[in-house]
Amino acid sequence: MRAASQAVSLALFTLLFALANYRLPDWLPADIYLRLDPLLGLSAMVAGRVWVPRVVWGLALLVATVLIGRFFCSHICPLGAVLDFLDPVLFRRVKRRTLDSDRRLRNIKYVLLILCIAAALAGSSLVYLLDPISLLTRTYTLALFPPFVGAVNLALDGVRPVAAALRWMSVATLSYAQPVFYTSLATFLIFAGLIALGRLAPRFWCRYLCPLGALLSLVSPLGRLRREVGTECPACGACQEACPMGAATDEGGTRVAECIQCRTCVAACPEDLITFPTSPRMLPTGTSAHPDLSRRGFLYSIASGVGVGFAVQQSPFTPLQNKQQLIRPPGALPESEFLTTCIRCGECMKSCLTNTLQPTLWESGLAGLWTPKLDLRLAACEQECNVCGKVCPTQAIRSLDLEEKTHAKLGTAVLKKEMCLVWAQDKLCLICDEICPYDAIVFRTIDGYRRPFVVASRCNGCGYCEQRCPVEGDSAIVVAPIGQIRLRTGSYVVEAKKLQLDFKPNPGDDQFILKSEGLRAQPDTEESAGPRAQSQAAPSATRKPKGFLP
């Protein structure tokens, strides 16, 4: 029953993950698991000092936990399900005795919870490192999704010859775009390490480390469903042995906060003495409902959390926040709010149509680790797609309609003349112009050749030019965050209009090619004897559009 619930929940989590792509319908909250996580919402709102309506869902889980107990950990949490399913596979033969330091280890999760919240109070987000839903989503995105697609393609390559011979062309021509991400390996190792901890104790992560479990355990003792052991209990220890959380104590007692209502003990009890009655009662004797964190430990945790949260900000990365070459997703909040609100779940990167969204490494310090950025040399931001905001559970990337998203200017393309094939080598290249959705690249005749220029007011930083620039190595046209529009609230369209930006495609722009006699090359002066002398050979081409002969 419980395994079925876990399997369904994990399947649903995986399905929603798969559905998080640019075709996601507006009504489907693909990020629902992340929204349900009260810790993520709480931390994002506290750290970012913003109100995020979407995370109100987290209240539902808190209320449910108050009413029923920590059923989330045993029945719903997808990470718990992964750990439970892998446990018999990996550690069946392992004899695990209760760790000597069990009691102290249990406190770690409370320390971590307090650290996260205290750091959030100090204005830094740390919760992303440890929150189970964020961690699992991130692992899915960065570490599991790419090899999965790779394996599917490999299998397709295997059947391709057969399919082609049988003329199953839909199969023979099928191949999925391979997603790629930075930090895949590191993310995987963290996940693998967390599973490996199960070697020491079942659900090691849940018992000792999970800050979400810690948060839920603070309210779960208020729940109605509580484990009760009959008075005839002979203290045989079978339930203690069986309990994956170590919640059963000697003499039939229960650590209520630790109990996740998995009811493994019910099945384990040889005397059938264990029940989970629904009537609310006083806590029986022998139960402990509170984490036995000492007052000193509590205060230390708060102090360290605030300290860490504060210290993280005292680095050159803070004043440099808007001076880095980082291109953030369209609709990303202003940088400082963005960094504190983003929970690094990687859902935006997973759903990104072009794979341009990549995890940030150390470009903006610890505060920016794993936040999404655009790698425009790798891929551009597709103008007809707005999925990254749609799936962002904390709205660090605002959910925008396509019109708004188009106006959420990411930056401005900057042409590096010394690298541009046309400027530096007089080659016939127009790719940036060809691919630009907004005609933000125009050609003017300079030195007898038509040369590209960027019209900044028409460039919204989508990056097609940077991606497609055929120069080897770095692109000769690079989107810099110049002029990026980052709004906490309000309309990007209105803001763009205010700034006199126009991202409407402008037909007929190339008319200047013929009508612009006045834009023809200036008569060269002293330069003409220099390296430009060669290009003088082709001035006749200037009166015809490129590609035509006189």
Partner: protein, 308 residues
């Protein structure tokens, strides 16, 4: 009275057989030799009807497609925009031609391109996939992985000596180009010959490494469409190849077996960047004709002009 015999009389048999033989022979001779009466056909009308009429006027699709052939259609569909923008071939033209190929007995029709924008979006916005949905054995597919391409030598190449070409295009029996008539800020116009770039893997080197006009002519020496049907129902006269730009409506479909002649005629049907040009003035067409790939001067050609 003897009962009427069941089955086929000798006379009937002979009649049927000879008719069949005659049809077969006629069909063959038409396909094999017998220069078609028209070098080019220029049909005005709505996209589907004009495409139909154009192919009929050239002798019907069976002249190009034999029973059991695998056909590759190469329209322009590498921009995520609809027919109004005139950067992609009209879906109705693609559909009409695909259907004619099937009717002529094609075993498979593969509609292909190597897109400039997200393949998924191009497939959806260009409307070709939608239009061809109901057709049997017809696949509309973007090939965005190198494994679908194979290197071939270009023995007559001036600037290109090898190029990676879509395997499907190499292995199929028939290649039909269905270009959209549009301006191109680098090659002047983009029609059939320029459209061949959608069949190769590394299209970027044409811009960065080679003289694109010469490279296109080189490419055209190895990719020889049996038929080119130019969609000039709309023409993007500025802002090409992707648009947006000025769209005029010549309402023409131009078809022929000579890829240079089709393009050369297409150059004349609309003003490009506000000026009238002749085929000879388009550098890559001139280069292609100099390679012996077709006639660039269309004035002397036998051209059928009709209305669909």
């Amino acid at each position: 009275m003897p009962k009427a015999r069941e089955g086929v009389s000798r006379r009937d048999f002979l009649k049927t057989a000879s008719t069949g033989l005659a049809v077969g022979l006629a069909g063959r001779s038409r396909g094999a030799s017998a220069a078609p009466s028209h070098d080019l056909v220029v049909i005005s009308g709505d996209p589907a009807a004009a495409a139909h009429r154009a192919v009929d006027a050239l002798g019907g699709m069976s002249r190009f497609v034999q029973k059991g052939d695998r056909v590759v259609l190469k329209p322009n569909m590498s921009f995520a925009s609809g027919p109004d923008r005139a950067s992609n071939t009209h879906p109705a033209v693609v559909h009409a031609v695909a259907r004619m190929c099937l009717e002529a007995g094609a075993e498979q029709v593969m509609v292909v391109d190597n897109p400039l924008q997200s393949a998924e979006l191009c497939l959806r916005r260009a409307g070709v996939a939608e239009a061809c949905k109901g057709l049997k054995n017809t696949y509309v597919q973007m090939f965005t992985d190198q494994k679908f391409y194979r290197e071939v030598k270009i023995p007559k190449g001036k600037v290109l000596d090898r190029v990676e070409v879509l395997k499907e295009a190499l292995d199929s029996q028939v290649l039909i180009c269905l270009p959209q008539a549009k301006s191109h800020s680098n090659t002047g116009i983009s029609m059939g010959i320029k459209g061949l770039m959608g069949l190769i893997w590394d299209r970027w080197s044409f811009h960065s490494k080679y003289n694109i006009n010469e490279a296109l002519a080189d490419l055209a020496t190895v990719l020889r469409p049996k038929l080119t049907i130019l969609d000039a129902t709309r023409a993007l006269t500025t802002g090409g190849p992707g648009g947006p730009g000025e769209v005029v409506k010549p309402n023409l479909v131009i078809a022929g077996t000579d890829p240079v002649a089709v393009d050369a005629f297409g150059v004349g049907v609309a003003p490009w960047y506000g000026q009238q040009f002749k085929g000879r003035q388009v550098e890559h067409l001139l280069a292609a004709s100099q390679r012996g790939l077709g006639k660039i001067d269309v004035d002397g050609l036998n051209i059928l002009k009709a209305t669909a």
